[in-house]
């Protein structure tokens, strides 16, 4: 028996999921069909959209005024919900990633992340004026 809270709407139904010997799933506690769908997805293949910010890298030899310009980080996200068990691997890759600026919102910064078919894109344009 597994317990979950449905996050499809603000009701927050407390779901109980029973899996019998034939791997049949029985969901109780849901007040609508979406609760059952959520439980199945969450048990069989949980996914989350991952958002992060990566280091921004100036072009080489770019003149930095007064040497005091703070270079802000570039926010990124996965284009779709990402398999939950592989998120730590993805985070490690994002932590190691430096993004060369300028960058446009929607630019792909990692193509086909970890072979999932899901891309990571920049969520903010970063211009050098």
């Amino acid at each position: 028996m597994k317990e979950l809270i449905c996050i499809t709407c603000p009701m927050g139904c407390h779901l109980s999921i029973d899996i019998d010997e034939h791997s049949e799933m029985k969901v109780t506690g849901n007040r609508c069909i979406r609760g059952e769908q959520y439980a199945r997805e969450e048990i069989l293949n949980p996914k989350r959209v991952v958002t992060y910010t990566c280091e921004a890298l100036l072009p080489e030899n770019f003149p930095v005024a007064n040497g005091s310009e703070v270079l802000h980080r570039v926010p990124v996200r996965t284009t779709n919900a990402f398999p939950k068990e592989r998120i730590p691997e993805l985070i490690a890759a994002l932590r190691a990633l430096s993004i060369r600026v300028p960058v446009e919102r929607g630019d792909i910064v990692i193509k086909d992340a970890l072979g999932t078919g899901i891309d990571v894109i920049a969520t903010r344009s970063y211009s050098l004026e």
Partner: protein
Amino acid sequence: MKQFIFDAVVIGGGAAGMAAALELDSRGNSVLVLDREESLGGILMQCIHNGFGLIEFDEELTGPEFAQRFEEKLHTRNIQVLLKTTVLDIREENEHKVIYAISPKQGMMHIEARAIVLAMGCRERNRGNIRIPGTRPAGIYTAGLAQRLVNIEGYIPGKDVVIIGSGDIGLIMARRMSWSGCKVHAVIEILPYPSGLTRNIVQCLNDFAIPLYLSHLVTNIYGKDRVEGIEVAPIEAGALISEKAFRIACDTVLLSVGLVPENELSRNAGIEIQPSTNGPWVDSTLMTTMPGIFACGNVLHVHDLVDYVVEEARRAGANAAAWLSGYRPVREIRVKTGSNIRYIMPMRVNPERENRLYMRALVVKNDARLDVRLDGTVVRSRKLAHVQPSEMLSLTLKPEELAVAGRDSTLEIALI
């Protein structure tokens, strides 16, 4: 001193300010947007998580994406924006509204406007606001400040974290800190239910097995130079049980204990502030007690969705434009909070127009009913499967529903 003259000036370039400016511009007014930060977008720029724009764009966007879509519209419309600009004062001079502002580029500015839209947003409540006893070591941050440090500046404020308060920013930061390699040891909430959205409890706490202590109070913070731990005690039947107090070791404390509209400018200008919202009193057109000065977004009342902020800001912009072209409501009906309602925004309705109202419940309730009464007669009744204080309620009243209103009528909304 540099002089500028505009039809309308919008103070604050976040979601509310940008939406209001676009509306004023589309109705043929010259508009100037002022913002103290170095980019438009306000708090959205540090909210890198997804969940924004489901109503506005029918898509799930991150904060920066949502902001940039508006920023691009301002750019296309050639709307004037002054960044790194701090407004010092709003005054009436010779029957004109005047804004004094300052920036490194322009120096001191004297800006004349026929209408002003306040869109300064809100700020976080801090340790002083909730009076947590203990020492004053380094390592205590508001959740939003920590969010800015991590997401924009790229600094990690600490390694072993406890979050006080279960507001959404705190929950989002629990996940963010966990992803950044920190250990979040606990979230402490004084109320018996979480203040944040259920989806954030699931995705930000349960996913990382972070314990949530409901009905618990932080009774002490320890540490000389740096936070070393906190003391927590349960609340049972309304009483603090000190004998059951326990300690949690940590080097960082994040506070997510609510937001307060930032109205120092409004107060100085002589605008009346409502105690129920900490925002300006406004009429059916979102105009404050100073004619020609409007308010919208989190400076008016704290919203939970940016989608609602831009809807309200568009109305404020459109109403400011109507005011500039001479429209004045003929009469307005007083709005009164009934049972279980904390506040209703705005505080007046106009029986000649459609009225969009936002309100907040005082209680958590399933199978509730929202009753709207005009002088005691129900004009609208709506069933609600679930209500809670952290989820704002909304309602649009049609002129027909207010047709019988008289000069002394009162509209009352109650949650039953």
